[in-house]
Amino acid sequence: MSTTTAGVLFILSLIAALAVAYRYLGDYMFRVVAGERHHRVERGIYRVLGVDPDAEQSWGVYARSVLAFSLISILGLFAFLRLEDLIFKVPDFATPIGERVFPHLAWNTAVSFVTNTNWQAYSGEAAMTHFVQMAGLAVQNFVSAAVGIAVAVALVRGFARRRSEQLGNFWVDLTRIALRILLPLSVVAAVVLLVGGVVQNLTDGTTLSTLTGAQQHITGGPVASQEVIKELGTNGGGFYNVNSAHPFENPNAWTDWLEIFLLTVIPFSLPRVFGRMVKDNRQGYAILAVMAIIAVASVALTNVFELGHAGTVSQAVGAALEGKDIRFGVSNSATFAAATTLTSTGAVNSFHDSYTALGGMMPIVNMMLGEVAPGGVGSGLYGMLVIAVITVFVAGLMVGRTPEYLGKKIGAREIKFASMYFLITPALVLTGVAAAMATGHWQTQLNVGPHGFSEVVYAFTSAANNNGSAFAGITVNTPWWDTALGLAMLLGRFLPLIFVLGLAGSLARQAPTPASAGTLPTDKPLFIGMVVGVVVILVALTFLPALALGPLAEGL
């Protein structure tokens, strides 16, 4: 079988598996978030938390609950990171914590994991104890993912409800999503990864003599339990520095397939939840179709560019193999790279910095699309619904009618929230890049010329979109970079999230408008095509100049 055929089958088999999951996982998640009854165990948890599970929240209260939980999480994780050496000091590093996890790094890492970004300015095996990885970082992998899904569900409630001030209860959503969706799936998938060869122990590993007599330290750690939620929650923070390229995180070709499946399965299944909640499955299929069209195009282009191996070094080598492992090969690495940036995961099984110019541009473009195809868990769905709102608004302008979506009028208030949501990320990316270029902090880049500029663009695009992958040549563990990227992650997560909840609140308040002859049907190919067009055009207008100076200058 040729490499191309195998690569295409790899992609088709993923699509088939995701199609099956859409229905079943989607329906299951719908029952979890829409169910009226509280489980007995969950009632106990609500008592411990001191919250009333039957008290519904307005959008303001919902937002304040999200922010309170995230603030406490950031503070708690920051303290944990600075104190990690106090307990269970395995592995026992030669460097003390004060010289290993600097305050600026702890700030960056705490924000990074709470915002579901998992940007890593540290090397896992050189900086973090097993204890802080599992009880600090991996906990946020679960709950930051649950927060994202909760906010998406709150937005959908805004569409589904009429004349209501209530969007649900954040604490109930958080608990149910973490306990009934993320935890069971993680347990099952962790055991499967163990079968594949992922390590899971609490030891410092084994030091041994190799065949030629050199010393090699085979590392240990609770990797499988963290690996699963890192993918499933579209987090992406590796236990080890080289992330999912590490054979202990991703031992073979089928665990690679499984990890791509895990990082795409929830984002691709959430439109089903949307369809069920607004009582029209076709609306879910329409959103899914938009996501799928963009995703397939992006995966295909990344494969074409990487297998085509343009560029001086790749031409000298004869393949774009630098930074890629043999067991995955070029095609499956390209597919992983596209999937991890189409979602907000940011795990990598190969190093994007060494990709061909245009192959390396695709991850940047995927993130610039706002990570909506399918996007992060929850954030992908709410991002796509905001773009759908903008689309019906644009369509309404064209025919001179008041735009509406799912019976809700898109008026001045709604479009303000949607526009602010859309504008915040490009503003952060472009301001950040400009600041780095103007202040000389770009000089920590590894590569020179356009590719060095791409490293800077990639860093801010990844941080502001809460992705977490990198053109990893650039050195970012400096006070300036840690602070700047920390701010980009924080504002890039929570400002859009507040705007989404604000939009949800104003939608929920409305009484539905009956559809008329002037209503744009939002479950038809015309609408699907328009949303795809809006996504691509908005992003092209915003980012083309930056891309022209980086990857396009390098690759064309």
Partner: protein, 295 residues
Amino acid sequence: MMRTPRWISRHLAAVRALVFFTVLLGLLYPLAITGVAQLPGLRDNANGSLIEVDGKPVGSSLIGQSFTDADGSPVKKYFQSRPSASGYDPDATAAGNLGPESIEDTLGDPALDPNSADGDGSKQALLTQVCARSKAVGELEGVDGSRPYCTADGVGAVLRVFYTDGLSGKVTRAVSVNQACPATPFLPSYEGVAVECAKFGEDYRKGVLVPVRGSAPEQPAVPADAVTASGSSLDPHISVDYAELQAERVASARGVPVDKVTALIAEHTTGRALGFMGEPAVNVLELNLALDRIQ
């Protein structure tokens, strides 16, 4: 009695939630998975897929090793792994991260000792790394190590070309930037202008970078994975092509027939999972251990 203000009770709930989830998801869940992992059948995997010889661990079947001597020269009786940015050190995994147009070296200061702790300040571009590896592997295996865009002395074949009008016009000067003087430039002349070797300290940035393909074959004798570093820096595998290239050298170093070595390569080649996932690969450590066993 005063009621606790709303914002305080909200943050208290957040604290309790964080503690609860830390206990459940940060302690109970990973400990339970660790418990399952240590059951017989999963335990070997969970502890790093160690391979033992005579009761002593010699490596992990998932983690690559360097098969070089103390000086870093290849041990001829062993199949060689791919280049690695960490030298196969699992405590410092890293990728090279140089980009596809990393083609211009930084020359070393001839006044400094390249073998000193700080070095001479030289930095190889990715292209020169590829060319140097290709040349070295070619010499080791007795095949042609030439590649497109590489000079015969194993650096990137790259010129800085100066024009009368900046980016256009007549060529006024051409420098082979990766060949430090007194090297002989890989091209005697470029568009009628004699090519110079590169001098340390001269600023060539006004010239246009021109990689020169040369006449190397489209399919070089040294395979792609032999000249590129992996992403993990621990890649346990090499391609079937690279293994077959090494068979003859390993066989003659061990004094065993080549057929026997190629048969072992076939035995230690894993095909694509389910026929379509990943790429066929040869596990280098396992292959070398098998060779040690037959002797």
